[in-house]
């Protein structure tokens, strides 16, 4: 509504919209909220849209999910099928859940479309969450004051896995039934309580006749309610903190530079919702997914070769596949401990999520930094964080690929044993290599930034002096370009108090401090300092910057570009 229609203190509103606004405001004081939020400034960047994609995929999941619940019947009662489904399914004994999945696909108009949109939306939802987390991680958006929101986001990721897994199993087909069977095997491997946990989940022995209705409740009530509540917390904190912004001229930790919510972001976010929904509709219309009638109803006996879970579960599947079994089942006082299941299916994922949960706090500790951060880091400027992130992703991707080792084997005609062995080794070597390479690339990019700031852009223009000397002309950076490359802090390793105090008494907690310092060195030993105005001035006056660089003990400072300095 336009401003002239809102109630003003000069008198009663006259237009219908004004009257409505007045009515509402007198009962809700909505005016305050509109004043506060309507023109709230949001920074602009394409990567800020990734979280939106996750949010909008979730909205699509809710909408299509409501459609599906109208027709899906989560009963495990058995029936002989005679319905609209394909010929191969006629007369088969199957659960009502499977039969109603067939009916809602083949009989309900638009039912198959909604099922396929729902499934694609789930895959995109998880993918968007992961990519959004990557953006947050690599730009350091998890730093103070956003650590809690990072935790909320990580819990949302786990809830997303739970939502996906519980939904995937609902049609009660052979493929998802074997997924449940694997879950049962994993649950049973849990020490002491495993067998009882299995009974807890399945209401008795696997598969029993309870699991589908139970998963249905989990899938349509428990998990979505939690996700919705946490999305509320996530967005509330985002608004409270005000969005982070990328570094650039005029952007500081004390301001937020961008466009107003109304109208620009209403239009952009609203538009983004429709684009996400539209693309999902297009995928649901043209790309068939999870055709359960090709697998058939659940039967404990058959299993298809080349079976894959949805992509976000591949890392767990791969982890199970990579673990060698020999010697990994221990019997202690007659009790069985299946490390060949426990390690890949429980320990490894726990470690992965522990890294995600703990990282912001560890980094804050080794940085010794207690300030608020609202300007994002360029990933190159924090090489160890970026390296760790890439290492983590490498481990995740190797596990996911290992989850498809049978498909790799059949597609490329390779030996499954050799592929498995290669992945076993890569799982340990890959992340370390990825870390080292990424860190080096980051340091290299930082040095490139220094060189650009000190010497400017290459122009490709060669000039010959009267004395016969050739030089290439370099164009200095403009203020904005330079600011982007010099405006960061190269953190130094923590400095700790000495082991003994002034009177030679051993200080309590020194060992602990020293351990943190060691970790801090790992993070910040190698660093590239930003160019200072003094260095720039020195670089511009022939050749002097080399001495300055040596003085600052930055081995990374550019060297040897003799001709470059002469440009000016």
């Amino acid at each position: 509504m336009s401003t002239d229609t809102t109630a003003s203190n000069s008198g009663a509103p006259t237009t219908p919209a004004g009257k409505a606004a007045d009515y509402l405001d007198q009962r809700t004081s909505v005016g305050g909220a509109v004043k506060e939020f309507a023109r709230k400034v949001f920074p602009d960047h394409w990567s800020f849209m990734l979280g939106e994609i996750a949010l909008f995929s979730f909205v699509v999941l809710l909408l299509t999910g409501v459609f599906l619940t109208m027709f899906f019947d989560p009963s495990m009662a058995l029936e002989e099928y005679h319905g609209a489904g394909p010929e191969t399914m006629q007369g088969q004994l199957m659960s009502v859940a499977f039969a109603s999945t067939l009916d809602l696909s083949f009989e309900v108009r638009g039912g198959l479309l909604m099922r396929q949109i729902h499934h694609w939306a789930a895959l995109i939802f998880m993918a968007a969450i992961v990519v959004h987390m990557m953006r947050v991680f690599f730009t350091g958006a998890f730093r103070k004051p956003r650590e809690i929101n990072w935790l909320v986001g990580t819990v949302l990721l786990i809830l997303g896995l739970a939502a996906g897994f519980s939904g995937y199993s609902l049609p009660d087909d052979v493929l998802s039934g074997n997924g449940l069977r694997i879950t049962d095997g994993v649950i049973k491997s849990i020490p002491v309580i495993g067998s009882y946990m299995s009974y807890f989940v399945f209401g008795g022995e696997f598969p029993g006749d309870q699991i589908i209705p139970r998963l249905f409740t989990v899938h349509i009530l428990l998990v979505p309610a939690l996700i919705l509540a946490l999305i509320g917390v996530h967005l509330f904190l985002m608004v409270l903190h005000k969005h982070t912004q990328y570094p650039g001229g005029g952007r500081t930790d004390k301001n937020v530079v961008g466009y107003p919510l109304f109208p620009v972001y209403i239009a952009k976010m609203g538009g983004n919702f429709f684009i996400v929904f539209g693309i999902l509709a297009l995928m649901g219309a043209t790309m068939s997914i999870n055709n359960v009638w090709n697998y058939g109803p659940y039967d404990p006996s058959p299993v298809g070769a080349g079976a894959q879970p949805d992509w976000y579960m591949l890392f767990l599947e791969g982890s199970l596949r990579l673990m060698p079994g020999a010697g990994m089942e221990w019997v202690i006082f007659g009790y069985t401990l299946s490390l060949n299941v426990l390690i890949p299916a429980v320990v490894i994922p726990t470690l992965l999520f522990l890294f995600l949960f703990a990282y912001p706090f560890v980094e804050a500790k080794v940085t010794g930094d207690k300030r608020e951060h609202h300007v994002l880091d360029r990933p190159r400027n924090v090489p160890v964080r970026t390296g760790l992130g890439v290492g983590f992703l490498t481990a995740f991707i190797i596990l996911a690929l290992a989850g498809s080792n049978d498909l790799i084997a059949t597609h490329f005609g390779m030996s499954i044993n050799q592929i498995t062995w290669a992945f076993r080794i890569l799982f340990f070597v890959g992340p370390v290599l990825a870390f080292l390479i990424t860190k080096r690339i980051c340091l290299g990019l930082q040095r490139k930034d220094r060189e650009l700031v000190l010497h400017g852009h290459e122009t490709g223009r060669i000039v010959r002096f009267a004395n016969g000397e050739y030089i290439e002309v370099h164009r200095p950076l403009d203020e904005q370009e330079r600011w982007l490359r010099v405006n960061y802090t190269a953190h130094k390793p923590l400095e700790i108090e000495p082991a003994t105090d002034a009177r030679g008494v051993k200080r309590k907690g020194y060992q602990k401090d020293k351990r943190w310092q060691r970790l801090s060195r790992f993070f910040y030993e190698d660093r590239v300092e930003p160019v200072t105005p003094a260095e720039l001035a020195a670089a511009h006056s022939h050749g002097e910057h080399d001495e300055i660089a040596a003085e600052r003990k930055s081995p990374e400072v550019t060297t040897g570009a003799e001709s470059v300095e002469r440009e000016r």
Partner: protein, 349 residues
């Protein structure tokens, strides 16, 4: 990086001057605003307006098209018909959605003001005064309740709060695991004299019908009605067996204990439930006698007591002791000697 000395809050400020700190550069401020074509050229503005209108119009057509598709493209009862109807409904739906989305974004990018605004941020921590009042409120509240002074009351309140969840948890937990009788893991439908039958037909298997090199998926022979119950699915999940007939010379070993023969004339029967996490082990390779689990690629050697030759499984598949009855049908000598399927804590107890 927040240490720039002169944050320039205003917009469109590009110049800085004055004494330069030798250690830090000064923030040049927000870059100068660049005008778009639509800001300067009324014709371009009108063109973009028309484009947005056109996109919304396409969306309307998509929505109407979806209704038309609903009535015009009716599935004819075949899978292809359903597929066609899905494409028609979905593509028109996508057009109506994408039309709105692209129109809104183009509108915001080309026609709405793109002047950057600057808002201030404030530190999140409350001011010391606010904190003081907050702490005072809490102290007053604690004082009012008297909880600090009344130890017995505190204990009683905590006890009550700690106990009440039991009223909810006990009935739930006692029922949620069925009868909690985990000893069922140890027994299957196989018992002395149960005939081996083909899965899924239930037809009993005669030893003479099996040629050397053949493999069969096997279930215990049960009444036909029983096969239509849920109990059967749960029992079948433990009882399925894979049977192979090897050339008796190829059979290096099986799991028969001293003085017993668990195989019959080169025919061996092993549990089909993987000892890793319980997938049905279904891929038999005749040449190598290897049995591969398609889930995690555990590989078992059927000619050598179903020992693990590769993969994440640790134990051999349990063997079903078999023989033949008077009519030549294969029968079980007994149930499996150990629990089938994945390991669990009490497995050997």
């Amino acid at each position: 990086m927040s240490e720039n000395q002169n944050p320039t809050p205003g917009r469109d400020v590009t110049t800085t001057s004055g004494a330069q700190d030798p250690e830090r550069f000064t923030d040049p401020g927000v870059p100068a605003h660049k005008l778009r074509l639509t800001d300067t050229d009324p014709a371009a503005r009108r063109r973009n307006e028309r484009l947005v209108v056109l996109l919304f119009a396409i969306s309307c057509l998509g929505a109407i098209g979806s209704i038309v598709a609903y009535f015009a493209v009716r599935p004819d009862g075949t899978t292809e018909g359903v597929r066609l109807s899905t494409i028609a409904l979905g593509v028109t739906m996508a057009i109506s959605l994408l039309g709105i989305g692209i129109a809104a974004i183009h509108w915001s990018k080309s026609l709405m003001s793109d002047h950057e605004h600057v808002d201030e941020r404030h530190e999140l921590a409350s001011s010391p005064e606010v904190r003081e009042v907050a702490v005072q409120h809490l102290t007053d509240g604690v004082e009012d309740s008297g909880i600090a002074r009344r130890g017995v009351l505190k204990g009683a309140a905590v006890s009550a709060l700690a106990l009440f969840p039991l009223t909810f948890a006990v009935p739930l937990i006692s029922s949620v695991g069925g009868d909690w009788n985990i000893s069922k893991f140890r027994h299957t439908l196989w018992e002395r004299g149960t005939r081996l039958a083909y899965d899924p037909t239930g037809r009993p298997i005669r030893a003479a019908d099996l040629t050397v090199g053949s493999a069969a998926h096997v279930i215990p022979e049960v009444p036909q009605e029983y096969m239509e119950s849920h109990e059967w699915i749960t029992e079948k999940a433990k009882a399925v067996v894979l049977l192979v007939r090897l050339n008796p010379e190829d059979l290096r070993s099986d799991q028969s204990p001293e003085g017993e023969t668990w195989s019959y004339d080169g025919i061996v029967a092993y549990s089909k439930i993987c000892t890793h996490v319980g997938c049905p082990v279904a891929l038999y390779e005749q040449q190598t006698h290897h049995l591969l689990c398609p889930c995690h690629q555990s590989t078992f050697d059927m000619a050598d007591g179903a020992k693990v030759v590769f993969g994440p499984a640790n134990r051999p598949l349990p063997q079903l002791p078999i023989t033949v009855d008077d009519e030549g049908y294969l029968i079980a000598q007994d149930d499996f000697a150990e629990p089938v399927g994945p390991s669990f804590w009490e497995r050997l107890k």
